[in-house]
């Protein structure tokens, strides 16, 4: 069929089954937007900033596991999208971003709104394309979606010069992809799997170390089956919250810098780490030489470059977690769960010694209480997004996540301003779910313009601002490590939150008591409009436990050992 390059872009998006595209028009991408106007195969959400459009596509992808799509124009449209690409890249999120580019004849001339998009995005995309002719456009679009969702998923950029979007040519969307240089390994090596199983059978203190790869592979049921069958305890990374389910007795909690005591001690004392889709991030390992010092390591990962990158691995298995576990679980048939009984009891004692806890108050709302309360009121039917900082860690520590894809946050890059647009993306993907963005008074102002998007598209996202009038996480480090010199972290000067959200077409609630909190959350769910719950929380609350950066995991700062909980009340 004969059609323009712009039409081909729309046809490809429809052929890929994408229901929602997030974006922002501009000069170089206008022809594509003209075709978007004419079609009705997908909806387009006009975010109010390109960064937010990419985060929204990211939230859509995280909530569903499908490829998220964002569309931006050349130059500043693209550069604004870079933070979104980098966020998705660090967390291996499948995404296709389509950017306009100046016409081919202008490339390299410093044309208006020209920037080297493939050059800039090279280190923050799985792959990128500059389309050089109309003939290659259908193939490139097909490959972009294929690359985004296969192997280790990631964002792919397709940069299309404006003249190619106008040109007319023959369109036939390829049915299959043939990239001779790209063959991800899905099936784990049988011999390696057998060896790993032998190691599990011999171990006395094995530990499941679960990462975001379990979510990406949709392998959580198999992971739970493995744990239940063997009764091996598990720790989750920030990206894996929900994999085991909060009520699972085998789940110790989250490990790492803000991991709970039992999880970090388990990692410090285990004799066999069974790493599934985790990548030994520095926020997880702490001091590498002390990390899992007494353990052999089984590492299952679809990306060979993750294996032995930071920690020497004894049983490397390159493959998709689902496929590897399908082979591994039957081989573990004979394992007697009693074998690890003593180990589980040690860990239980650790958890009783220092449970994940905080000191609640009747005078002021504690941020941890607010998160637990949301869990009690909406629990498993909610999707929780977050921004970055203290509120993010408290949410990861205290929310009762029941399933993967319920928790959406920027783990690897740590992007403030991610939460609200990601929540919009998640809500478009899952309209039946209550979507709550747990945020702070710092983060929410980055991309606060998205309130308008949420209001316009009747996308009721509840923003719970845990307001401590500080850039809380930086303030916490200043308290602990910079002798309380609060350099540029005091956010006493604030907007009127209620007026701000109402000006954008939403509802505002000022919350200072627990009663007000409950009433506001119930009303927000009923009203079904975008809203701010401005929750005044204890100013100097700290995220604990905490492993100081570069310290050994077992050297945690624990709640009772911090005098006065950090600061004057």
């Amino acid at each position: 069929m004969q059609m323009s390059g712009a039409q081909m872009v729309c046809e490809a998006i429809i052929a890929e089954g994408v229901k929602t595209v997030f974006g922002y028009p501009g000069g170089a991408i206008m022809h594509v937007y003209d075709e978007i106007y004419k079609q009705n195969g997908f909806e387009h959400i006009l975010n109010r900033h390109e960064q937010a459009a990419v985060h929204a596509a990211d939230g859509y992808a995280r909530a569903t596991g499908e490829v998220g799509v964002a569309m931006v124009t050349s130059g500043p449209g693209f550069t604004n999208a870079v933070t979104g690409l980098a966020t998705a890249y660090m967390d291996s999120i499948p995404m296709v971003v389509i950017s306009g580019q100046v016409p081919l004849s202008l490339i390299g001339t410093d044309g208006f709104q020209e920037i080297d998009a493939v050059g800039i995005s090279r280190p923050c995309t799985k792959h990128n394309f500059l389309v050089r002719s109309l003939e290659e456009l259908p193939r490139i679009l097909k490959e972009a979606f294929y690359l985004a969702r296969t192997g280790r998923p990631g964002p792919v950029l397709v940069d299309i010069p404006k003249d190619i979007t106008v040109e007319i040519g023959e369109f036939k969307y390829p049915e299959s992809v043939n990239i001779p240089t790209y063959k991800p390994t899905y099936k784990g090596n049988n011999r390696q799997i057998e060896k790993a199983v032998e190691a599990i059978k011999k171990a006395k203190k094995p530990l499941l170390y679960l990462g975001g790869g379990v979510v990406a592979s949709n392998a959580y049921k198999l992971v739970r089956e493995l744990a239940e069958k063997t009764q091996i305890p598990a720790v989750e990374t920030l990206m894996a919250r929900g994999v085991m389910g909060a009520k699972n007795p085998l789940l110790l909690g989250m490990l790492g810098m803000h991991g709970n005591y039992a999880s970090n001690m388990a990692m410090s004392e285990t004799d066999l780490v069974i790493s599934l889709g985790a990548r030994f991030d520095d926020r997880v390992t702490g001091k590498l030489s002390e990390f899992a010092k007494y353990a052999d390591v089984i590492h299952v990962d679809i990306d060979p470059a993750n294996i032995s990158k930071l920690v020497d691995v004894d049983y490397p298995i390159v493959g998709d977690i689902t496929q590897v576990l399908e082979k591994m679980i039957p081989l573990l048939e004979g394992v007697n769960p009693d074998r690890y009984q003593a180990w589980r009891e040690i860990l239980k004692r650790y958890d009783e010694l220092h449970p994940q806890s905080y000191e609640d108050s009747d005078e002021v709302i504690k941020p941890q209480w607010a998160i637990e309360r949301i869990g009690e009121l909406v629990g498993e039917q909610a999707i929780i997004t977050s921004d970055v900082g203290q509120h993010q860690m408290w949410a990861a520590q205290h929310y009762p996540f029941d399933r993967p894809r319920q928790w959406i946050n920027s783990g690897g890059l740590g992007t403030m301003g991610f939460g609200l647009p990601a929540a919009i993306g998640a809500k478009r993907a899952c309209p039946e779910k209550t979507v709550i963005n747990i945020t702070g008074d710092g983060s929410i102002l980055m991309n606060v313009q998205e309130l308008v998007t949420a209001a316009e598209y009747k996308t009721p996202v509840i923003n719970v601002i845990l307001n401590n009038h500080f850039l809380g996480m930086v303030r916490q480090w200043q308290t602990f490590f910079y002798e309380k010199r609060y350099s540029e972290t005091d956010l006493t000067f604030q907007p009127n939150w209620k007026m701000l959200v109402e000006a954008c077409g939403g509802i505002g609630y000022d919350v200072t008591t627990k009663e007000e909190f409950d009433a506001a959350l119930k009303d927000a769910i009923e009203k079904d409009k975008v809203c701010f719950m401005n929750v005044a929380v204890n100013r100097f609350e700290n995220v604990l436990p905490m492993v100081p950066a570069g310290g050994a995991l077992f050297n945690m700062m624990l709640p009772p050992k911090i005098e006065n909980n950090g600061e004057e009340k």
Partner: protein, 159 residues
């Protein structure tokens, strides 16, 4: 424990011959803090592939990461990194015509080369040999006051 000493290695990379593929490879080295000592690129005859030869330095863990990260690049077809490589490097050296030409010719001949161009004021010698011997040749050539030295970078092939 992995070997932590920095060793010189030559890595051969077979890539799709497409635009910006070299930029992807060099950007990977720059972005992850790996060294490039020398680099040569040329298309592989009768194919749509190119051969990139990179001379680099690093310990065993770094080498493993370089190899894996290179392999992760979508247009990379094959990465060959081991000790059993036949390596050659070319160098061109320009000497003033006033120097002892027969000495220079004899020296170049000793390193599998010779004089390849003679002009009014300058003479150019060429040597193609193992990288270590090329280095020796350049050292030996110092006494004839070379005014310009251009090394070609290492090319390598599996034994």
């Amino acid at each position: 424990m992995p070997n932590t000493t920095n060793e010189r290695r030559v890595i051969s990379v077979v890539v799709m011959n497409e635009s910006s593929v070299l930029a992807r490879v060099t950007a990977l080295f720059a972005g992850r803090g790996y060294n490039i000592e020398s680099l040569t690129v040329a298309p592989i005859p009768n194919s749509d592939m190119s051969h990139i030869t990179i001379e680099t330095k690093g310990n065993a863990r770094v080498m493993e990461q370089i190899t894996k990260q290179l392999h992760k690049l979508i247009p990379v077809y094959k990465v060959i990194e081991h000790e059993e490589m036949v390596e050659k490097e070319m160098v061109l050296v320009k000497f003033p015509i006033a120097e002892n030409l027969s000495d220079i010719a004899a020296l170049a001949a000793a390193y599998n080369g010779g004089i390849v161009n003679v002009g009014k004021e300058m003479v150019v010698a060429q040597v193609a040999d193992e990288p270590k011997r090329v280095k020796h040749f350049i050292e030996a050539a110092q006494r004839y006051n070379p005014c310009e030295i251009v090394r070609g970078g290492v090319v390598a092939i599996e034994r």
